[in-house]
Amino acid sequence: MNVELIKRFLKEVSLIMVEEREHLIDEDSIVGDGDLGLTMSDGFVAAYDAIKDSDEKDCGKVLYFAGKAMSTKVPSTMGTLMASGLMQAGKALKGKSELDRKDVTAIFENYLEGVTHRGKAKVGEKTFIDGFYPAVEMLKSTEGEELSVSAEKASDAAMQGYKNTEGMIAVHGRAATRGEDSRKLLDPGALVAAYIAKGFYLSVK
């Protein structure tokens, strides 16, 4: 596996975000300000566009520059968090042009690490993390299996994580101002995590 995997991955994610644009707008309109569909589609398209025609072989650099492009394009909460994830993954993979299975897992571990470093949210606080963390855990625990199988399971885990945000109380972002009322709602950021995991699955299946 090499930089082409990164490119396919970002392409699939950007396609999903464009497709789900209105849906994300609707979801974020219930909890927040409704811009999530715009920022995620604009942001991931910008990330992919920034690297799709690059000759760069260093997977780390490609992830990092995709993140930078995203951060410049959509400096919103989720835009910056996703950029931080990509950039941290990039830092971790710097120098690698060939990726083994462990490196693939490392992309997601570091993506999570980047988001956590930036946003300081913990599991169970009704954020992106609650969709992404289960996916990363799944990737780690299924490293012995076929990558496409493992990725599909991660994708399902992320979607389940998203669904589990119902019932959680929000402590970050706009939803937090609702206090107890926030429990009834699903977290749109966690849905983005599910879309990213799904994009990855599509890129390796």
Partner: protein
């Protein structure tokens, strides 16, 4: 949507272009990006002060860049954070070896981007950056407990922080000292708002929330964030009582404490109404035994054409008083 604008997507860019034409002696921009607004009068060796945030709050945030206050402001789209890259460009421009202090409001997007910019300034440019986050809106959350993070939103009171930190930096204090002053100002500032009518983000084209024609919302945020309670519009005097009770109750005051007070219009509220409220605020503060050193009135921090006002108060000691009163000259704020 009744606005004197051209294309909504050009709103911020054209606003900024007008601003540079109007105030060439005070402000300019760096790196070919009009969103990276910097002072036209750099002071050798001074700690640089930068802020940033979404557009739609004029004169906030950019209007306080000038002499004796801020040195830079990165400007985002309406109600959207500017990018870390833009913040970094400002940081590089204003650093003169003494380091840079970021002062900004407590919003997710701004925090994440300023943090990212600070890391990049440190790693990539070897510029020391410190940050002070203003969270003065008593309506937005309970006060934070010792050691806990302040979760309150930043609103109009940030101007007091700008003013004190700006004057301290102008006195050539070190980054640590300027940060200490800014933190002290922030810790002693409280704000509360009331909204009567909504505002329209140009690219959205319709009001961000709706509110009955005889209603007000006490404690609403400057992007329309839900407040403490919605109810029938009350007389100015009762509104002032309710708001001040929350503000005064939030800091331990002693009789004889001095304060500066800002009565701020949110956009479409006539100055007359602000003065009517000021009159009552003065009566209440006298009753409570607090001494007002100086009043500020006008539109200092708005939410486009939102109707309503906010009241901010900073508790002064001799140091903060000196810095509040120090001269300043920016496009929107002049202290003589």
């Amino acid at each position: 949507m009744k606005k004197i604008i051209n294309k909504p997507e050009d709103y911020v860019k054209e606003m900024l272009e007008g601003l540079y034409i109007a105030h060439p002696d005070l402000i300019t921009y760096t790196g070919d990006d009009v969103h990276c607004l910097v002072t036209a009068n750099k002071v050798k060796g001074k700690v640089g002060l930068a802020t940033g945030g979404g557009s739609g709050h004029l004169p906030l945030f950019l209007g306080y860049v000038g002499k004796g206050m801020l040195d830079a402001c990165s400007v985002g789209d309406v109600f959207q954070s500017p990018s870390a890259e833009q913040m970094l460009a400002c940081t590089k421009y204003i650093d003169d070896g003494a380091g840079v202090l970021y002062i900004y409001g407590n919003y997710n997007g701004d925090i994440f981007n300023f943090d990212m910019a600070a890391e990049q300034a440190d790693f990539e440019e070897d510029i020391r950056v410190e940050s002070v986050v203003a969270g003065d809106d008593v309506a937005s959350a309970a006060p934070s407990k010792e050691g806990e993070k302040n979760t309150r939103r930043g609103v109009a009171g940030i101007i007091f922080v700008y003013k004190c930190a700006g004057a301290a930096a102008n006195d050539m204090l070190s980054l640590d000292e300027v940060k200490r002053v800014a933190e002290k100002a922030a810790a002693n500032t409280r704000t509360m708002g009331v909204a009567l009518t909504p505002c329209i983000v140009p690219r959205v084209g319709k009001p961000g929330f709706s509110i009955g024609s005889d209603e007000m919302e006490i404690g609403m945020g400057i992007h329309g964030e839900t407040g403490i309670r919605r109810g029938k519009l009350e007389p100015a005097d009762e509104i002032a009582e309710e708001m001040l009770a929350k503000i005064i109750g939030d800091i331990p005051y002693e009789k004889g404490d001095e304060v500066d007070v800002l009565i701020n219009g949110l956009g479409s509220t006539p100055l007359d109404e602000q003065y009517i409220v000021l009159r009552k605020v003065d009566e209440i503060l006298k009753r409570e035994g607090l001494l007002v050193h100086k009043y500020y009135t006008g539109n200092y921090a708005t939410a486009l054409e939102m109707g309503g006002i906010s009241i901010s108060m900073i508790k002064l000691d001799d140091e903060l008083k000196k810095y509040m009163d120090a001269p300043a000259e920016t496009p929107f704020f002049k202290q003589m």
